[in-house]
Symmetry: C2
Subunit: 233 residues, 2 copies
Amino acid sequence: MQPGLPLFESVFTIDCVIFGFQEGELKILLIERNEEPYKDWWALPGLFVEHNEGIDVAAERILYELTGLRDIYMEQLYTFGEVNRHPDGRVITVGYYAMIRLTGHKELKPVTNYAKKAFWHPVSDLPTLAFDHTAIFEKSLQKIRRKISYQPIAFELLPEKFTLTQLQHVYESILNKKLDKRNFRKKMLNYGILKELGEKQRGVSYRAATLYKFDRRKYAKLFQKELSFMKED
Amino acid sequence: MQPGLPLFESVFTIDCVIFGFQEGELKILLIERNEEPYKDWWALPGLFVEHNEGIDVAAERILYELTGLRDIYMEQLYTFGEVNRHPDGRVITVGYYAMIRLTGHKELKPVTNYAKKAFWHPVSDLPTLAFDHTAIFEKSLQKIRRKISYQPIAFELLPEKFTLTQLQHVYESILNKKLDKRNFRKKMLNYGILKELGEKQRGVSYRAATLYKFDRRKYAKLFQKELSFMKED
DNA sequence: GCAAAAGTGTTTCAGCTACACCCATGG
DNA sequence: CCATGGGTGTAGCTGAAACACTTTTGC
């Protein structure tokens, strides 16, 4: 620590809610802790922030250590600094959330020492989590529910090529309600931010659907920054 | 600091964007710094968080020290943790924003030692601020612009009794655009969350306007939590 | 031929927008 | 009597919601 600053120091961590979409369900990545406190509990992946490490960089570090992925969609969520949130003393944590593409064959990397293993858990059926991690998760879900109505985050969870039905399932699992198929398609195609690829699905035992990709260029052109997507209630 | 935690400590502060509405304009409270670094610069009011002090409590402490007010509308904004944001080393800061009622006669309390004085500055014409405080301010403005469209935060800036025109001016100054008077009134009254008091304005040299108050009870009953207020663009 | 999902239009309704004039009051 | 802001209604448009049947494909 440099001179000039007073000695008000605090212990300080990052916790991360990592969303993925698998088997038609929204899931998050949990680890099983291998250390006290909360040994053997499920928890959000987290780490201590090092000196002279920016918090965004630290958040990316977690993600890389766990999944081997870089350049992932990731946003800061909220900072949790209640005195009693950690049994060993005042630990402030900054929550982040991330969204990753689970292409099925992607394996989780061997997990760091403080965790036994990591698993994808459906958000509809989470166990009780360590610390205040349940609250952090709930805040993240609130945030993406709101965000999906004005930013194109659904595409972060899908492979590059996807069908409209897959896209609809992402919206439905985040918003936790059924949407009307015709209205969804009409609206989505009207935005003009999907590019229809010439291709169709392969290897399905029913009528193959048209594949689309998200056209970032058009999106950026149409809306400098935002877009009113999907009504909220 | 308690045993059991590793020695990853960080210096850690709170900075606060305090909004007020005065003379028909949206303003924020700035202090003039009396200490290095950035001595003599304008800055957001901030402080170091003490050990065993929750961050929300610390944020309320700033507000009380500067304004003598408690029980104020206040929300966490974002956490800024870039390595180079503070010239003396890595200082993480949690930004908050608050909204207070400036009833005109309310004086600012004598300011703490690190500041010479505090002033209300119109947000439309802010000086360059110390550290990354300009970025913190801009994020807070973005946030309340979005928030005013789904939560009744405008009332936090007004006295208990207000006219519809005053309310409209609050919306206009936050959204930074003119609104149509008839449409604004129709919509606002339709929500059914304003209570018409029997009274009229006094001491104005034109037709006195009807006074209203925000009916929190009705608001809570109608919308458990949220409301789609004012379209966003 | 059947199971499973793809794909497709129209009507109705609510809420947003645009817009201009008379009224009450104090000085 | 004049200056200042208070207060009011309607018509047109746009976007959301509701709703059911035919098509394609693999097996």
